[in-house]
Amino acid sequence: MAELGPVLEVLLGGLMSGVLYSLVALGFVLIFKASGVFNFAQGAMVLFAALSLVRLSEWLPFPVAIALTIAIMIALAWAVERLVLRPLVGQHGLILFMATIGVTFFLDGFGQTIWGSNVYQLDLGISASPWFLLENLFPGGILVSPVDVFAAAVAGSLVLALSIFFHSTKIGRALRAVADDHQAAQSVGIPLNQIWLIVWSTAGVVALVAGMAWGSKLGVQFSLSFVALKALPVLILGGLTSIPGAILGGLIVGAGEKLAEFYIGPAIGGGIEYWFAYVLALAVLLVRPQGLFGEKIIERV
């Protein structure tokens, strides 16, 4: 039993950090699902949202700051739709991807100009001190971080809400139609502009949540945008188009990489966390080329 303690602890820790990856991956999924755009700017949006919140909350009450930040993210969505996506309707996915890179650069510069490049502390008022569970079973107990639990809860409910929203409304169907074929979607009267505004706004709000979770952990600073890289394997593993996939992918990647780092890492020099998630994703893809929950890739002549 005593040996099981550490395993459980690592597993739990991994699952928790996996949820944090999922939060970022979720933003990617939303936008990809709705437009076939792989949004490179998701990381920059996480940073931008968190920065806005932190700086606004310096002189506004926290709830007001949150509301204002959401408004800012919606404005951003509007600008992106208007200035970037609309003129590029119907272009190849890679080109849209490149355009979001332009957005990334812009946001990086813009965010730093108006909000500054320092580190800011984001205090959500949740104690960072750990809980120790089941101390009677395991020596030292199983360590759980309350921040992680909070993040997990938020992520879980977010996924649930989004799944319901996108699956049981006609918007959900329209989203998938748009992702399949912009032009045909337009031709049946799906308003691309509104759809994209909705989705990018939602992704902006998701970015804010991710920014809060990660920002309370890392401090709000430029490096927040790097967490996007950690979300990539999660995204791919779960399938680019699946909201539940983002969560599940996150859990698998989180737990897998922590266990690997912990138990395999020392044998081959450590730091394998760095690539393990990708290799894991690769292995899954070899079996299921569309990820665990992604839409089937149609091959037909």
Binding site: D108, V119, S129, F222, F226
Partner: protein
């Protein structure tokens, strides 16, 4: 006119992921140079022409900046502080060709302390090997001997983070502690596995060789696994305000190496506030003057300008060339008296650079974050040069051999 100015290029990173650390440093440099210009009319009566170039901590941009700025001014740039290990590596060979000294205060390659091989490099005040040695000396003292203790190094997985490992490994035998090194991959936002391991092995001390976001994350994770901050020690690049601030109160008790104190109540600060900030020309905010990295930038600038002053004296010129500044560095000696004149009393200890020894001084103190500011918990500790010097020389010779350099002889 241009003929009458000293050209001082400053490579900075005021944007991007490392900006929180880069900004105070760059401000310290800029303010100090501005103060010298305003107060003394420059160095030796010659105005300093100051220019910044943004590297964003990226090597190729750093190289581009260097190339762009190195030939500017009447006699070219006086010296460069690349402020990044990657840029240092990329420039080490180029400066030898261009004949411009490379000042790497508190970073860069440890073996470059050997001036016979690394003619143009000046890792002033201390290398990472010195840092590792000083830390071990300190914990050895407070633990009353390290026999049977456990020390874990959590390091940034890059040449920077790896530098101290050989010293810590060798010391493990000498002092009898067990040593473990855990890499953290760039940029260091995920360290859960590392800290869960620490929770299990429960080392007596954790050394932190991190950079940027990795440091604050490490502190947060330490809190999350319940590792006491009092037993964590950061290197001097992991013990400044941006490293502890995001962790808030949780960082209380965290300790680190200090090449110099924090605080703005030294004479030089008064001058800076008076001549620069009162004139409304400060590079940063008034209340940020005196932060750890700010002071470090200030010292970096001061040392560079002292080398210039030295060169002016030696060669009796108004504007020295890079080659002459190198001489100025190599014969740099800051006595306690001189340090006092400069207004740096208490900030640094005397320095003496020589042809053999480009480090000049290898002392640091330990300071601790009390939740609001850094306070000293130790006196100056000097690295053990009898132990380090042979190591430095061996590594430098290996480099010389690889590159086909014949080391100079110093007398």
């Amino acid at each position: 006119s241009a003929a009458e100015t000293i050209y001082y290029p400053s490579l900075v990173y005021r944007s991007g992921p490392y900006a929180p650390n880069g900004i105070p440093f760059a401000n310290g440099v800029a303010d100090y140079v501005a103060m010298i210009n305003a107060r003394d009319g420059g160095v030796g009566g010659v105005k300093i022409e100051f220019e910044e170039c943004e590297t964003g901590y990226a090597t190729d941009r750093g190289v581009e900046c260097y190339e762009r700025l190195k030939g500017k001014g009447a006699k070219g740039a006086i010296a460069f502080s690349p402020l990044s290990t990657g840029i240092t590596f990329a420039l080490t060979e180029k400066v030898a060709v261009d004949k411009i000294p490379l000042q790497t205060m508190g970073y860069g390659r440890s073996e470059s302390a050997d001036g016979r091989v690394f003619t143009w490099n000046f890792p002033l005040l201390g290398t990472y090997w010195s840092a590792a040695d000083i830390l071990i000396q300190h914990v050895n003292k407070i633990a009353g001997g390290l026999q049977g203790k456990k020390i874990t190094l959590v390091y940034h997985d890059s040449p920077y983070g790896k530098e101290p490992i050989p010293v810590l490994q060798e010391h493990a035998q000498r002092y009898g502690y067990t040593f473990e090194a855990i890499p953290v991959t760039h940029p260091g936002v995920e360290q859960k596995a590392a800290w869960l391991k620490i929770r299990q092995t429960r080392p007596d001390f954790v050394f932190l060789w991190g950079w940027g976001v990795m440091n604050s994350t490490a502190i947060k994770e330490a809190v999350a696994v319940g590792y006491p901050r009092e037993r964590m020690y950061g290197v001097w690049w992991a013990a400044a305000e941006p490293d502890v601030r995001p962790a808030g109160d949780d960082a209380k008790g965290y300790q680190g190496l200090a090449l110099h104190p924090a605080g703005a109540d030294y004479p030089v600060h008064k001058d800076i506030l008076k001549y620069v900030y009162d004139a409304g020309k400060g590079a940063g905010k008034r209340e940020e003057v005196g932060e750890v990295l700010y002071n470090r930038g200030m010292i970096d600038a001061m040392l560079k300008l002292e080398a210039v002053r030295n060169a002016q004296k030696i060669f009796n010129v108004k504007v020295p060339t890079g080659e002459q500044v190198r001489e100025g560095y190599e014969r740099l000696e800051l006595t306690a008296q001189r340090i006092k004149e400069l207004g740096f009393e208490g900030l640094i200890t005397p320095i003496k650079v020589s042809c053999r020894d480009h480090e000049g001084s290898r002392k640091a103190r330990i300071h601790q974050w009390d939740g609001k500011k850094w306070v000293f918990v130790s006196d100056w500790i000097e690295a053990n040069n009898e132990y380090l010097r042979p190591k430095v020389e061996a590594a430098a010779m290996a480099y010389a051999k690889e590159k086909g350099i014949t080391p100079r002889t110093c007398n």
